[in-house]
Every structure is written in structure tokens, then in C-alpha cells.
């Protein structure tokens, strides 16, 4: 009984044992369930379980700020990953081309995340940890070696996509590419402009000298350069209408070629008007 093997008996019959008045730790199933379901205030717990209830209360306490650190960069990378894996009904069996394109999309998003992080890094001297971690994992998943620093990300991405044509710089990848490109302004531009990703950007812009102009409306649309604020609010429109068309290979029943979208729409949002405004602070 003392070793806990007879727990079922203890649960049902918290009866005195020879030599003991009572098992002070006897706990009926109802009380246990209330403690586990979070419905029992420590003050109402059996005396022997008051501290236990306090510990349970502490592990279910409201989140602290360090548990939600690096939200913007982490979420940006994860949302990009979600975009890269659209609904199976909306996508054919992946071909080598779509796989490469998907990998390139992830890489482009990671470049964007790293570039945005790079600005923070310049200010604080350190890249946000979880952004680096997630970006590393995305890059790894895309067959891209982990970058030692954000400056190499573009070059690494181009290595991974040697045989690819690069991301669709007119579509969903435009934002990320532009931000990555802009983040490199004044820095070492040479290597970056030679990368597949930035060649795609130059092609979309109509020449490498026109990239600055081409990306102007991106930064204007992005407002303060914060990607998290640039998207239209989520809506309840059916998912087919909800802007998966900007993803290569994601168009409903379309070919695997990158879908050309209106150059003005780089956010991957649908054309349908948002019907529900969702406040993230609800």
C-alpha cells in the first residue's frame, strides 16, 4: 500500500491503516480531477494538498513576457511556412519544380526574417534567438545550410537553388525579397545581387537598377517596415478565395508555374473584402 501499487484502493477507500489514524494524503477522485482541471482554489484544497494546488496554479499562471519573446520574427517565419504548405486539395502532387519553388519561398521568407532581425541585431548586437532558430530550421528544411550570419543568407539561398529559376518576385516573395534587398543597402551589395533570388527580383523590376523603385511601394505598403502590420485583417471568406493564388502551385487546379499576380498585391491576401476584424488582443 505504501508503494502506491494499491492506489486504486486508496482512491476508493481512504480508510485507516493498521497503526495509522488516517492516510493524510488520501485524495478522492473528484478533488483530484478538480485540481487537475484547474477548478480548485488552493485555499479550498485538502490541507495536505494546499501546496500542491499552489504549484499547479503556478504552472498554469498567465504567460510571462519572456515566454512570448521574439513574437514578430517568429510568427513571420511560421506564417511563411504555412503559406508554403497550402491545402492539399488546392495543390497537385508536388513535382521537383514545385518542391524547389516551395523551398525557395521558405528561403526567401527566412532571408526576410533574418534581414529584419539584422536591423535589430545592429541595434542590440544580437539576433533574436528564436528568429534565428526558426529561420535556421526553415533553411535547413529547404536544403540550405544554416547561415553563420544573416549576411550569408542570400548567398546560401542561391546555392540551394542552383537549378531553380528563383522565387516569383512579382508575387508572394516580393515583400521578403525587397526587404532583404533593402536591408543590404549600403552594405555588401555585390554578392547579393548575383544571387538567384535577387536576380529574380531584378527581373521582376525590369532591371537591377530599377529594384529600388520597384521595392519602394513595398516599403510604403509595409508601413514602418513591420511585416506584421502590413497584411489585411483575417477574414472569414472561403479559403479558395483567400489569397492562396499568390503561392506557386497553390492555385485551384492551375499549373505548377508560379502564378502571376497583380504586382500591386504582394501580400498574398485575397481580393474579397475582410468581413471580420479580429483583434489579436482579444
Amino acid at each position: 500500500m505504501r508503494d502506491g501499487d494499491g492506489l486504486h484502493d486508496e482512491m476508493r477507500y481512504p480508510r485507516p491503516q493498521p497503526g495509522f489514524r488516517f492516510d493524510p494524503l488520501a485524495l478522492d477522485e473528484g478533488t483530484a480531477e478538480r485540481m487537475l482541471a484547474g477548478g480548485l482554489d488552493p485555499a479550498d484544497a485538502p490541507p495536505a494538498y494546499m501546496r500542491t494546488a499552489m504549484v499547479l496554479e503556478a504552472i498554469a499562471a498567465p504567460p510571462s513576457s519572456d515566454e512570448l519573446a521574439d513574437e514578430a520574427a517568429t510568427v513571420a517565419t511560421l506564417a511563411a511556412a504555412a503559406r508554403s504548405f497550402p491545402h492539399p486539395a488546392a495543390r497537385r502532387r508536388p513535382t521537383v519544380l514545385t518542391k524547389l519553388l516551395t523551398a525557395k519561398m521558405a528561403a526567401a521568407a527566412a532571408i526576410a526574417a533574418l534581414s529584419v532581425g539584422g536591423v535589430a541585431a545592429a541595434a542590440t548586437g544580437t539576433l533574436p534567438d528564436s528568429a534565428q532558430r526558426v529561420a535556421h530550421q526553415v533553411l535547413g528544411a529547404a536544403g540550405v545550410p544554416a547561415p553563420d550570419d544573416h549576411g550569408d543568407a542570400a548567398a546560401d539561398a542561391s546555392k540551394a537553388g542552383r537549378s531553380a529559376t528563383g522565387p516569383d518576385a512579382t508575387g508572394a516573395a516580393k515583400d521578403g525579397l525587397c526587404r532583404a534587398w533593402q536591408a543590404g543597402q549600403g552594405g555588401e551589395q555585390g554578392g547579393k545581387n548575383d544571387s538567384t533570388a535577387f536576380k529574380a527580383l531584378a527581373a521582376a523590376a525590369g532591371g537591377s537598377d530599377k529594384v529600388a523603385d520597384y521595392c519602394k511601394d513595398v516599403s510604403a505598403n509595409s508601413g514602418k517596415g513591420d511585416a506584421a502590420n502590413s497584411g489585411a485583417p483575417p477574414s472569414t471568406v472561403p479559403e479558395q478565395a483567400q489569397g492562396r493564388g499568390a503561392d506557386p502551385g497553390a492555385g485551384s487546379g492551375q499549373s505548377h508555374a508560379p502564378t502571376s499576380v497583380d504586382p500591386g498585391d504582394g501580400h498574398g491576401q485575397g481580393q474579397a473584402p475582410p468581413s471580420t476584424r479580429i483583434d489579436p488582443r482579444d
Partner: protein, 191 residues
Amino acid sequence: MIGTSFEAVLAAAAGGDEHAFAILWRDLQPALLRYLRVVAPAVCEDLASETWLEVARGLARFQGSEAGFRSWVFTVAPQRVIDWRRREARHPTTPLPPEEVPERPGPSDAADPVLEAISTRAALALIAELPPDQAEVVTLRVVAGLDVAQVATIVGKRAGAVRVLSHRGLRRLAERLGADFPASRRGGVTK
């Protein structure tokens, strides 16, 4: 909990909307991190990222309620833990620098009668001292907010076994925290 807007949030997040994804992330990241802090403290943040990446990739295929979504996230997380343990077994990494290892409160801290303000970290460290199967079940119930049936599915045990494990966990915790503590606030009950 996200509540009534969950479906809309999920659909938008699956489409890659950062706004919507942030809502999902904020809702579950703390619980996910706490769960992993109990079962794999040394790598909890890495495994949380891995879990989220897998969730992001599978989001468009997920169908279900908010409770189902929670369940799914906490099904992915233990798989990431198992994968990590396998990787570890094959290629053991060097021990982590001390700052990566969460501080464990000494017995004197934990047994302090004035337990009014125990921190979440210290409390998680106490849970982590339980036998692993008890710790996991208690954490999934309390931190992840899952019911017995959901936890049973996740850990691959029957509901009765989950109840017994969590019951033992509570009992052991009470033993650990001291059964001989002084009069409670309820008015001098001394066993």
C-alpha cells in the same frame, strides 16, 4: 482560449496570415514551452520551434475545433521530444552551458512554508522531479488544459491509467512538498 473566432483565425493562419498566426502562437506558445520545460528542459525552446514549424506546415490540412487543435499541437510536441531523444542517443551532444539548464530549487526552497508566490519556473522544476510519466500527464492536464481522454490519446494509454498516473503525481508532489506543514489557512487543521 481563442473562442468563437477560432475557425476564422485558423483559416487565415493556414493561408499564411501573420496576424492570425500570431493569435494561435500567443495562445499556445507559453503552454507548449512549459510542457517542454518539464519533459525536455535542456532543449525546450528548440523543440517548441520544431513543433510550431510542423504545425505551420500541417495547418492547412488540419480540421477540427479549438480543443482539437490544442490536442494536435500537444501530439506533435511529444513526437518532437521522442525524435530529439533518438538523435541524442545516436549523437550525444556536449553538455549544455550552465545557464541553459533551468535552475532547480533546492529542497529548502520548495519546502518553504511560505509558498505564496512560487514562480512558474520553480513550480515546473518541481513537476519535472516527478517520475517522467507522471510529470507528463500532470503537465498535459494542468498546463495544456487537456482532458483525460485527450491526454490518454496523446500518451497512448487508457483513460484509467492516465487517471492513476496523475493521481500518483499529485500525491507524490504533496509528499515532496511536506505533509507535515503547519496549520493551514483554513483554521488549524493539523492532520
